[in-house]
């Protein structure tokens, strides 16, 4: 029997659920992960990633020495270097000085607008706070974003517009208190496995009824009372038709509308055209299902809505989210236990990275950069001369790459993100990456993006550093160092502080913004001194159990659910809506709709999970296609197929399954050798700037086995 040297409590580094983990360690080798059964978030349950997925820490491909590219890269001719022979291992001193030389040279020559940074929804709050502080205080740039832009930007914008907040209103485990809940645009069993267990228990043990609104017959449909199989991109129509029914049948909550909302009349008028018949003609959902769903949601005592990226990743993303918010305001299903508007956040710390200001339009705490008072507060906090900070809105993730070129963005600093997997229309993204003058990468692995870099700064994994993550239900939890840094890797916050001090000195800034932190707890306290939601989040208060923001002061107990009395805006605002077609609709040349998403075994761009033994269970992406479409194309299950859009082509195996409806195909986007995002459309939602990942037109044709990136046949899984 293996005896552990120690067991370290920490927080899972994968999805936004934020499960509590116990790492069992012998001689600095994590050999087992358990979870305390009395843990508040996951009650002892884990998924494959939390239980087994940590071995990327020890992967032999991991980079643990600073490296500089041997051949100096020129804009326009930049190449990817996957092979270590193209890199020169160097000392930290040399790597840091080189990075400072290049960044400062570009900044002094071209100015703030040439500088850009991708923060990281996987890194800690402290790491993200510091990196945005570095770019704001030293380079005076707001070109700061992270992948939240690519997932829930539309939800955040819509929630801000309607109620003035941008997080889950309730705690995920409150689902057991719901009578009815809607899951839409979320494949919860694969993307938020532990929340799906709580949902299943709510249905099986507490009598809750589930309405699934999703183009795919996802696993949660097995537990649903109703499934509304909409065509991708028609959310506004379906949810608005539900509102139409609720209005027509007077199932709304008049008291709530009178006391807590505004703009009802104008909204109600805009809903007139969304009859169930009209909705059926657009979305393909049976009108009776829409009526039933509307009645079920409206007449429940407590009802909640859970959604994920199927709602937000559209050019209509903001309208989609607003149509859900409208439903909630109409029925008053918010501000109580078991109700609410619950966008499920995808990454371990996407909520936290957003809270910490890793965004182009906001300082930490969602304080607009264009607001003079906010800028002054941060100038004071960071010892910056009055007027020093930029008041201009920065560029968002996709805009940063779009702006690359002479006179635009010249230098890109990437912490932990993999835009060359996660951006839409990757061929276009690649051209832009090639044109950058300088790229610094702070990561664990050489992946599709870091391979483009000039310098590689090896960071520690989550198991090798201290910090905090904020999970999807706003709970700030501790991340603890369990093992010493592997090789020469350094904690992200330490790399950033070291770099910042050198940059500050080189630029000759008269005052230091302060970078001499002894421990990450001091970083969070600095942020809490300005950001009132975090004012009471102190390390000594979250040693055992995390606190849910907002936490106003040292005595405040945290906030399990929001808006019981009022919204941050005061009144919740109804928004009239109209429906617009997706940017690219199927036609004769590209007759199928491609939609993308995740699978249980992999996580986002796959930098971590493709470097884990979990990969053995799902080593290649499969494209789901309906038997009707497969038959007409002459494709059998596991046959190779070529998938083309107006932007790119990939070859991969098909999984013939009725899980997708005729006319729709689905590809998970984790898989580098056949990246789904080569196909996706980079059309943006005008308000949230989120790309339309969920709808692009494609053509499928049979391919040859030798064209497959991995021709050897993978083990068949019972569940796929």
């Amino acid at each position: 029997m293996t005896q552990s040297d120690r067991i370290v409590s920490t927080t899972c580094p994968f999805c936004g659920v934020g499960c509590n983990l116990e790492l069992h360690i012998k001689e600095d080798f994590i050999y087992r992960v358990t979870s305390p059964f009395d843990g508040v978030v996951n009650q002892g349950n884990l998924c494959i990633k939390g239980r087994f997925g940590y071995d990327f820490v020890y992967n032999k491909r991991r980079i643990t020495t600073p490296m500089i590219r041997k051949t100096r890269q020129q804009p326009g001719e930049r190449t990817q270097a996957f092979d270590l022979s193209e890199w020169q291992p160097v000392s930290w001193e040399e790597a840091m000085e080189y990075t400072v030389d290049r960044l400062v040279e570009i900044y002094q020559r071209d100015g703030s607008h040439a500088m850009a940074v991708y923060c990281c929804a996987k890194a800690t709050n402290e790491d993200n706070y510091l990196l945005q502080k570095l770019f704001r205080s030293e380079f005076r740039s707001n070109n700061i974003d992270h992948c939240a832009r690519l997932c829930h930007a539309a939800s955040v914008v819509a929630l801000q517009m309607a109620i003035g907040s941008s997080a889950m209103s309730n705690t995920a485990s409150e689902v057991v208190d719901s009578d009815v809940f809607i899951v839409t645009g979320s494949n919860t069993t694969e993307s938020h496995p532990i929340i799906s267990l709580q949902m299943k228990a709510a249905i099986k043990k507490h009598g809750a009824k589930l309405i699934v609104i999703d183009p795919r017959r996802i696993e949660m449909v097995d537990y649903a009372a109703l499934w509304l199989p909409e065509k991708p991109g028609t959310d506004v129509v379906v949810y608005s038709a539900m509102a139409h029914v609720i209005l027509k049948e007077k199932l709304y909550n008049q008291k709530f509308i009178d006391e807590r909302t505004e703009n009802f009349e104008e909204f109600a008028k805009s809903m007139e055209k969304f009859t169930p018949e009209y909705a059926e003609s657009i979305s393909g959902v049976d009108r009776n299902l829409i009526v039933q769903a509307a009645r079920m949601y409206a007449t429940a005592k407590t009802a909640a809505i859970y959604w994920a990226l199927g709602v937000s990743e559209h050019i209509n993303g903001t309208a989609n989210a607003l149509s859900l918010i409208n439903l909630t305001l109409l029925t008053g299903h918010i501000g109580r236990r078991g109700t609410g508007l619950n966008p499920l956040r995808g990454q371990n710390n996407v909520q936290g990275a957003s809270d910490c200001g890793a965004m182009p339009w906001h300082y930490p705490g969602y304080m607009s950069v264009a607001d003079e008072e906010n800028a002054q507060k941060w100038e004071q906090a960071w010892n910056i001369e009055p007027g020093g900070l930029s008041r201009q809105l920065g560029l968002s993730t996709t805009e940063i790459l779009g702006a690359v070129g002479p006179g635009g963005v010249r230098a890109l600093y990437i912490m932990g993100e993999n835009p060359m997997m996660s951006e839409p229309n990757l061929n276009h993204a690649r051209q832009k990456m090639e044109q950058l003058e300088f790229i610094a990468a702070q990561d664990l692995f050489i992946n599709e993006s870091t391979s483009f870099a000039d310098v590689f700064l090896p960071a520690t994994s989550w198991a090798e550093k201290e910090g905090t993550f904020t999970n999807t239900d706003r709970r700030v939890q501790r991340v603890r160092q369990a093992i010493p840094p592997v090789g020469q890797a350094r904690a992200d916050w330490q790399i950033i502080c070291d770099l910042a001090k050198r940059i500050e000195k080189r630029l000759g800034r008269p005052n230091s913004a302060f970078w001499d932190y002894k421990h990450p707890s001091e970083i969070l306290e600095e942020m809490g001194s300005v950001v009132k939601d975090y004012a009471g989040v102190k390390y000594n208060r979250i040693e055992e159990v995390g606190l849910q923001t907002p936490v106003w002061d040292d005595q405040h107990p945290g906030t399990p659910f929001l808006f019981s009395e009022s919204f941050p805006h005061g009144l919740g605002k109804f928004h009239p809506l109209t429906y617009h077609l997706s940017a690219e609709m199927p036609d004769a040349e590209y007759p199928l709709i491609l939609t993308t998403g995740r699978v249980l075994e992999h996580w986002h761009g796959g930098t971590l999970t493709r470097n884990s033994w979990m990969d053995d269970l799902y080593p290649e992406a499969l494209m789901e296609i309906n038997p009707v479409d497969a038959a007409s194309l002459g494709l059998n299950d596991r046959d190779p197929a070529r998938v083309s859009s107006r932007r790119g082509t990939i070859v991969l195996r098909v999984h013939v399954t009725p899980k997708v409806n005729p006319g729709v195909v689905f590809i998970p986007f984790f898989y580098g050798p056949a990246a789904a995002n080569l196909l996706t459309n980079d059309a943006l939602d005008p308000q949230a700037k989120i790309p339309e990942y969920k709808v692009s037109a494609v053509r499928v044709t049979p391919a040859r086995y030798e064209e497959l990136p991995q021709p050897e046949v993978a083990q068949r899984r019972g569940r796929y």
Partner: protein, 244 residues
């Protein structure tokens, strides 16, 4: 209902809410009853019977994990009859199952002075290790059939229904339907089963390899096909050569 039920356990009086089990009632006054198959976060079925107690007026011993407290009940948790019963259960377990990685049960053995050699004729259960994926192994020679893994795979947590009892009587074993390999079942590799296994019959693969003498470096250098298949042969051949 707010009315409390009063009962006595080992001559001590305790008041509990209706529906409370004898096990929990005893716990309230600090009386510890041994348990093996019981788990606070699983549904109790009284499978292992180690928690039996004597209840006055009851013909048979009562499993405390599922037996409900009732008004006026008189419970004795450590009578001779109870001790004999518990000891026999432990001795029978020891005769057929590998309990080397179940420290809790070993403590009970000492506590109840169980004679592990009491049934020398008993046939040991020695199925070979099931090593059919890269993430965890199933060593049912260590399995005492407590049922917790089946419960968490089903309605107690995961709703995956990948495993259940197979075969009957002495041959009973936890298995997959049609003895399929785990990847071929509905298994989602959540490892909830590992989390509740009391005897380490279920074990993460890397822990298993570590125990089999591989170093961290050797483990992390294994190729995909080695960690999926070949390691099993390597390990079993290593075991064979040890025996020789």
């Amino acid at each position: 209902m707010t009315d409390k039920i009063t009962l006595t356990i080992d001559e001590q009086t305790v008041a509990v809410a209706p529906g409370t089990t004898i096990l929990k009632a005893a716990g309230q006054i600090g009386i510890e009853i041994p348990t093996i198959c019981f788990h606070d976060y699983c549904t109790s079925y009284g499978v292992c019977r180690i928690c039996v107690v004597e209840v006055e007026g009851s013909r048979t011993l009562v499993p405390a994990c599922i037996g409900k407290a009732s008004e006026g009940m008189k419970v004795h948790t450590r009578t001779k009859r109870v001790e004999t019963s518990r000891r026999t259960i432990l001795e029978m377990l020891a005769s057929s199952v590998d309990l080397s990685e179940a420290p809790g049960i070993q403590e009970y053995m000492t506590d109840y002075q169980a004679n592990t050699q009491r049934f020398p004729e008993a046939r040991e259960r020695k199925p070979s290790v099931l090593d059919d994926n890269s993430l965890f192994i199933r060593d049912y020679a260590k399995c005492i059939l407590c049922w917790r893994c089946v419960q968490v795979c089903a309605d107690d947590a995961q709703y995956a229904y990948a495993i259940n009892f197979s075969k009957r009587g002495y041959e009973t074993q936890i298995g997959t339907f049609f003895e399929k390999s785990l990847p071929a079942t509905t298994c989602v590799f959540c490892g909830q089963c590992i989390g509740v296994c009391p005897t380490n019959a279920l074990k993460p693969k890397r822990e298993y390899l570590l125990q089999n003498g591989l170093s961290e470096d050797e483990i992390m250098k294994l190729t995909r096909s080695q960690r999926k298949r070949r390691t099993r042969r390597q390990i079993s051949s290593a075991e064979q050569s040890e025996e020789e």
